[in-house]
């Protein structure tokens, strides 16, 4: 028996206080029935005696305290999942919005998920070839990794994410592959760009889309990524598919969270974001991975825009502490026309070491990667020095480093949005660039590999 209450006492922002309820549980889902019969979702945030504080998922416009009713559904927020979801488009709350039929659920799953037992995780180590040199060669992505893209307003992160979604493959395998895409408060145009791109490449049939646009209720954004991840978990761990999850834009998500937190008058942490932002983000990001007993995997690419291009802003900062690396886009490179403008030095993939090397990519991968990194770092320093003092002030070796930095950006970082480089092409390109240096500078590469790949350096 579901009881209805007409005791809405207060509505303020996304929060609503209902008095005199019985048997309502923390985190339970509720529905507000408006006078015109329409329904809006809400969730219990706090139980205090017979009163409950609920958080609305939709706009509070039109709610009438004296006539409207609330009913609690006896369970938390759930999503009905089935394989039929592939190729469909859902709202941020998991309702089909593509005009197609309702999904007949195979299962009803709690969207909050449960923590994965660390003892049950399988360590991600399968190399994914994205065809993008800066990722494959230097910040290698592996199956089950969570690797965010830190972007900023006006930078082409969407193009990069779409290229990854299009080209990402595990070599020599032809397994079940799916994309789950969650648009969190992005513009119609940006969402449309992704949908178009998926459609063009025929990927739409194995894609599930959850769309919350900038015009939709902000508060819905708290559920959207969890809906998407619940669908992804079902496909990956129960249907053994390899799922790539793209979440964009996490900044909008964090802002929705801040809105609820400030409405609750909670003590804020940095920049007004709640103190539990880290824990909250972790409860999403940590759902990526691989588990024992299942062949599938969830690889996650969250995208966020750094406010003021500031990497120390709480959203990128806390994300970086949870995810297994980050791909950072640089405005400076973008202005120079280097596309995709991946800022190589601060970018990182923490899981690369287990996914590269003989048998996975190639024996020379680790050595050349480290060498390229340190040469580029020194090259950039040399270029800075050149700006201050002029080229003549550089030592001959520093001049080579400066030249290398330019060539590296022009040939290695730059690539066309439809250019799909194999890992061998990427590695060979690295050697090609390292030829600029005398052998004594290549300390990060073992002499055996230098002999094999740069035989002419042996003198």
């Amino acid at each position: 028996m579901i009881k209805e209450y007409k005791t809405i006492e207060e509505v303020a922002g996304p929060l609503m206080l209902v008095r005199g309820v019985a048997g309502v549980k923390y985190d339970e889902l509720g529905e507000i029935v408006l006078a015109d019969g329409s329904r809006r979702r809400c969730r219990v945030l706090e139980v205090n005696g017979n009163d409950v504080l609920v958080q609305l998922f939709e706009s509070s416009a039109g709610i009438n305290l004296s006539t409207d009713k609330v009913r609690f559904l006896g369970h938390g927020a759930t999503l009905g999942v089935s394989e039929e979801m592939l190729g469909r488009v859902f709202s941020g709350m998991g309702v089909p919005i593509d005009g197609g039929p309702e999904i007949i659920p195979d299962k009803l799953l709690d969207i909050g998920g449960t923590p994965i037992n660390p003892a049950a995780r399988k360590y991600p180590s399968e190399f994914i070839q994205t065809g993008i040199s800066t990722i494959d060669g230097l910040n290698t992505l592996v199956r089950g990794q969570k690797l965010p893209i830190f972007s900023a307003s006006g930078l082409p992160h969407a193009a990069l994410a779409a290229q990854i979604a299009r080209q990402a493959r595990v070599r020599g395998s032809d397994e079940n592959f799916a994309v789950v895409f969650a648009a969190i408060g992005i513009t119609f145009e940006e969402a449309d760009f992704f949908i178009e791109d998926f459609a063009k490449t025929g990927a739409l049939d194995h894609t599930v889309l959850f769309i919350n646009l900038a015009s939709d209720a902000a508060i819905e954004r708290i559920s959207t990524p969890r809906m998407a991840l619940t669908a992804a978990e079902y496909l990956a761990f129960e249907k053994d598919m390899h799922v790539l999850v793209i979440l964009t834009d996490i900044t909008n998500y964090a802002e929705a969270l801040r809105e609820v937190s400030s409405a609750r008058k909670e003590v804020p942490g940095r920049r007004g974001y709640p103190g539990y932002l880290y824990t909250d983000l972790a409860s999403m990001y940590e759902r990526a991975g691989r588990k024992a007993g299942s062949e599938g995997s969830i690889t996650m690419i969250p995208i966020l825009t750094m406010p003021e291009d500031d990497k120390t802003h709480p959203i990128p900062d806390l994300t970086g502490y949870i995810t297994e690396g980050q791909i950072i886009l640089s405005r400076e490179l973008y202005r120079k026309g280097v596309l995709p403008p991946v800022d190589v030095l601060p970018s990182l993939s923490r899981l690369k070491d287990k996914g590269i090397g003989a048998g996975k990519t190639r024996e020379d991968h680790a050595g050349t990667m480290n060498q390229l990194f340190s040469c580029y770092a020194r090259g950039k320093e040399a270029k800075e020095l050149m700006v201050v003092l002029g080229e003549a002030a550089l030592t001959p070796i520093d001049r080579i480093y400066a030249k290398f930095a330019d060539e590296f950006e022009r040939r290695y970082v730059s690539q066309k949005s439809d250019e799909n480089r194999t890992i061998e092409q990427t590695l060979d390109l690295g050697w090609e660039l390292l030829k600029l240096f005398p052998r004594s500078e290549l300390k990060r590469i073992s002499p055996e590999l230098l002999d094999r790949y740069l035989p002419e350096s042996r003198s």
Partner: protein, 585 residues
């Protein structure tokens, strides 16, 4: 047993009424699922409870039962090689029984109740024993003999004791104590928030050797000391912590993954069993206890995980072992504290952290130290504590870093800039410090070499001078430097690249024995000294900088532990020859 009911649920905080009889810090069971919680505040008959599991589904009126006991850990054979969550639930066993995800209300004893352990007594009937005395031994792993001790506050004579196979709950020994007969089993319990007793605390005097050059040579930590590793994300905190857990010359390591990535714990679980301890040749997992409370696990249990870990470490210290506790990361623990504080509606201190942040951190680190344990044999045990700190935005002025720095004696400051250049470990040589250096100097002099401290000081001087010269180069260019200064820059670069940089993934570079560290440093300094002498005689600086032998010096760190002495001597010889050739020309 007190029974009350829920009044309020707000995230991980539950307020229950009717709890007047319960004690503060008692463990309670909540609701039908029997979720585990701990009372952290009492107001009249209302108890504020932090719940160690997800509270979704709890409501007004649900039952709350106090167990009458504080949050405790089970101590006994079966701890080693195991992985526990923040409140010591065994994760491997839970995986086997409940599947790959951790659902709510799981209850599983920390130590396996069925497994038999072979117990060998070391006392006999009629012997007098006091608190801390060892009554017998269980070989828990090849590396660790688990010593069964007389509990604190008990003394008397042994009435009954026998060799045999026992489960952790069976009685292995009976003692006629002053307060009546006492039965000892292999397992005991201890409340996590209370430090275990010892006879006397001593100042540390021996270094903990980690095989990491920048740590052992430049900023050493003592056995029984405290250290922190702050750094922004991507600067390699976790790799440093893993290296310490792998290579430190301690008897046992308790590794606490506190609010960090799940895959990192998985990595430890998969990798450690395959790694050999350089001192004993056995798998290092056999001396390791893992506590994993990953970031997606409930936040209150994260708060408890640090205490669970250090209590287990103290227990092994009491057996007379040297133990290292490695906590990654104390910032996540502080955030858990902040979250609970916020829910309790306490007045916040800096950045929303509670005002008692510093004192709690100090209490934790103060549980480290070198002690004389309880017991008549006056054995010595050490407990070293190393905490990672994850400052927001890499800003070291934030409260957790500042509070930690006031307590710990060693600071290994990681820098993003070094990490971008792939200089690992990214411990910055100018910012970091170790307050144990003077205290440990006699040890190094005796065990490594007379000139060790001088060599390290010389290297530090080069690095310091380099940073000053770099300023000049940035302003007026390298041409303005004197030959001597240019040589200093070259030598400092060599110290940075050929000594401080260390590749954790290279088989020989990952762990460097102290003697090799010393000789490698001497080799680099010898390049400096000999080149300097050559410059005085009129040699060309550029030629000295471009010497072929420098590539060999650069690769010297990867020399194998068996051959490095002869390798280094050969390099030294080549160095002499090449300088001679330059002087001839």
């Amino acid at each position: 047993m007190t029974e009350g009911s829920i009044i309020k649920v707000s995230g991980p905080l539950v307020v229950a009424g009717g709890m007047r009889e319960a004690n503060l810090f008692d463990v309670v069971r909540i609701g039908e699922a029997g979720l585990i919680g701990e009372i952290i505040e009492m107001h009249g008959d209302k108890a504020s409870i932090q719940v160690y599991e997800e509270t979704a589904g709890l409501g007004f009126g649900d039952r709350v039962v106090s167990t009458g006991e504080p949050l405790s850990v089970e101590l006994g054979p079966g701890l080693l090689t195991n992985i526990f969550d923040g409140i010591q639930r065994p994760l491997e066993a839970i995986f086997g029984k409940y599947g790959s995800n951790i659902t709510r209300g799981i209850s599983e004893p920390a130590l396996n109740r069925e497994k038999l352990w072979h117990f060998v007594p070391c006392v006999k009937r009629g012997d007098a024993v006091v608190s801390g005395d060892i009554v017998g031994i269980v070989e828990e792993t090849e590396l660790v003999l688990h010593k069964i001790m007389v509990p604190a506050g008990v003394s008397g004579t042994i009435e009954e004791i026998a060799e045999g196979d026992f489960t952790v709950e069976q009685t292995v020994c009976r003692i006629a104590s002053e307060s009546g007969p006492r039965a000892l089993s292999l397992m005991s319990k201890w409340p996590v928030r209370r430090a275990r007793a010892y006879a006397k605390k001593l100042a540390p005097e021996e270094p903990m050797i980690t095989g990491q050059r920048v740590i052992d040579s430049m900023f050493p930590i003592a056995k029984g000391g405290t250290a922190c590793v702050p750094g922004p994300f991507g600067s390699g905190k976790t790799v440093v912590q893993h290296q310490l857990a792998k290579w430190s010359n301690v008897d046992l390591v308790v590794y606490i993954g506190c609010g960090e990535r799940g895959n990192e714990m998985t990595d430890v679980l998969r990798e450690f069993p395959e790694l050999r301890d350089p001192h004993t040749g056995h798998s290092i997992m056999k001396r390791t206890v893992l506590i994993a409370n990953t970031s997606d696990m409930p936040v209150a249990a994260r708060e408890a995980s640090i205490y669970t870990g250090i209590t287990i470490a103290e227990y092994f210290r009491d057996m007379g072992y040297s133990v290292a506790v490695i906590a990654d990361s104390s910032s996540r623990w502080a955030e858990a504290l902040r979250e609970m504080s916020g829910r309790l509606e306490e007045m916040p201190g800096e950045e929303g952290y509670p005002a008692y942040l510093t004192s709690r951190l100090a209490q934790f680190y103060e549980r480290a130290g070198r002690v004389i344990c309880l017991g008549t044999d006056k054995r010595e045990g050490t407990l070293s504590a190393i905490g990672a700190v994850s400052p927001q935005g890499g800003d070291l002025s934030e409260p957790v870093t500042q509070a930690t720095l006031r307590i710990v004696k060693v600071f290994w400051g990681l820098e993003a800039g070094l990490a971008y250049r792939r200089h690992f470990p990214a411990i910055h040589w100018l910012n970091s410090y170790s307050l144990y250096k003077d205290r440990l100097e006699p040890w190094f002099r005796e065990h490594v070499g007379r000139g060790f401290s001088e060599a390290v000081a010389e290297a530090m001087r080069l690095l310091q001078e380099e940073s000053e010269l770099d300023e000049i180069v940035k302003l007026v260019g390298a041409d303005a430097l004197s030959p001597r200064e240019r040589l200093t820059l070259e030598a400092a670069r060599s110290v940075r690249e050929d000594f401080l940089q260390q590749n954790a993934f290279d088989p020989y570079d990952s762990y460097t024995p102290l003697d090799k560290q010393y000789r490698l440093l001497c080799l680099i300094l010898s390049y400096y000294a000999k080149s300097l002498a050559a410059v005085e005689k009129g040699a060309d600086v550029q030629a000295l900088a471009d010497m072929k032998v420098r590539e060999r010096i650069g690769r010297a760190k990867s020399a194998s532990d068996d051959t490095y002495r002869s390798d280094f001597e050969a390099i030294e010889k080549e160095l002499d020859d090449e300088i001679e050739t330059i002087l001839q020309a």
